[in-house]
Amino acid sequence: MANDKGMESNVIQSSQIILKKEVFSDQPRFTIMFLMYLNKTVGFTELQRLLKLTPGNLDHHIKKLEGVGYVIMRKKFLWRPLNVVEITPKGAEAFRDYASNLKQMLKDIK
């Protein structure tokens, strides 16, 4: 019984690692997550200009990240309505894990 539970948690862990790898393997998605990990909220237009993507292309990446619950898109009202992308606690944790794995990988290369 305990062995089964252990196997089950290993499977969940591996599938999470695969999911993270799949989500972060793409350059724009990795950069979006990195930026938001540091700044929490970034404007849609700012992201689009920074990454030199078309609105449709950026929307596709945001949707992918939204799909796994790493970011949310919301409207912010300043002197004009703005679309902003915000990292979720789940997204921050996933990125932190991914970054520490990457750090470990670089250490191992040394």
Binding site: Q27, L38, L106
Partner: protein
């Protein structure tokens, strides 16, 4: 190797974003001062009438208005740079300059501003007192630009503000001899225009940085 390249590319974009936030913070700060300074000057030029209206002494009124304007301006400036510093902090960590050196330069800039205003208030004769603040601010801004350029980064928006202030003070000298009231209004407009021009120029630089065209 692919992973390292990915991190490097992301870091370049993050650096660009942090530069963009810094420029935007400068732009917002200059614009808020461009709004506050003329408002403060309008209150200052009408201090006699307004203090009588509020039934307080002229000195108390001047002190109160100066304190409110300075508090709003400094409060907004601090808020602005703190909001932009979430990413800037990580960038600053990588630079060789210690916080001690950085605060030394801040003190140098504050000293230049203090000396400039003390000088004009003490030595410039009364008829020219209206425009003396323009000289003080123009001079202090250009020296601040030189200090920042030597120890930190180049902020051309400060040169824009300083040059507009100093150049426009020349016709002001002529104007103050003929019509003091008009010279006062012109001083308010010059302050506003110079700071707003610097602020909008800063926004233009920020947009270029964001798009990678700088």
């Amino acid at each position: 190797m692919e992973e390292i390249q990915k991190v490097n590319e992301a870091l370049l974009i993050i650096e660009r974003y942090s530069n963009y936030l810094a420029r935007k913070a400068w732009g917002k700060t200059l614009i808020i001062w461009g709004i506050l300074t003329p408002i403060g000057l309008v209150f200052y030029f009408n201090r006699q009438a307004l203090s009588a209206l509020l039934e307080i002494s002229v000195e108390t009124f001047t002190l109160l208005v100066s304190a409110i304007m300075i508090l709003i301006g400094i409060g907004f400036t601090i808020y602005n740079f703190i909001s932009a510093s979430r990413i800037l902090k990580t960038k600053e960590d990588q630079t060789a300059e210690s916080p001690k050196e950085s605060s030394m330069h801040g003190i140098m800039i504050a000293f230049v501003w203090f000396i400039s205003f003390i000088f004009v208030f003490s030595f410039i004769p009364e008829p020219l007192s209206v425009i003396s603040t323009v000289w003080a601010a123009g001079f202090a801004i250009i020296i601040s630009f030189l200090i920042l350029k030597k120890y930190h980064d180049t902020f051309p928006e400060l040169i824009v503000v300083g040059v507009i202030l100093l150049i426009s003070s020349i016709p002001l000298v002529v104007l103050v001899m003929t019509d003091v009231e008009l010279a006062r209004i012109a001083t308010v407009i010059i302050y506003s225009v110079s700071f707003l021009a610097g602020g909008f120029y800063s926004f233009t630089i920020a947009t270029d940085i964001l798009s990678g065209n700088e």
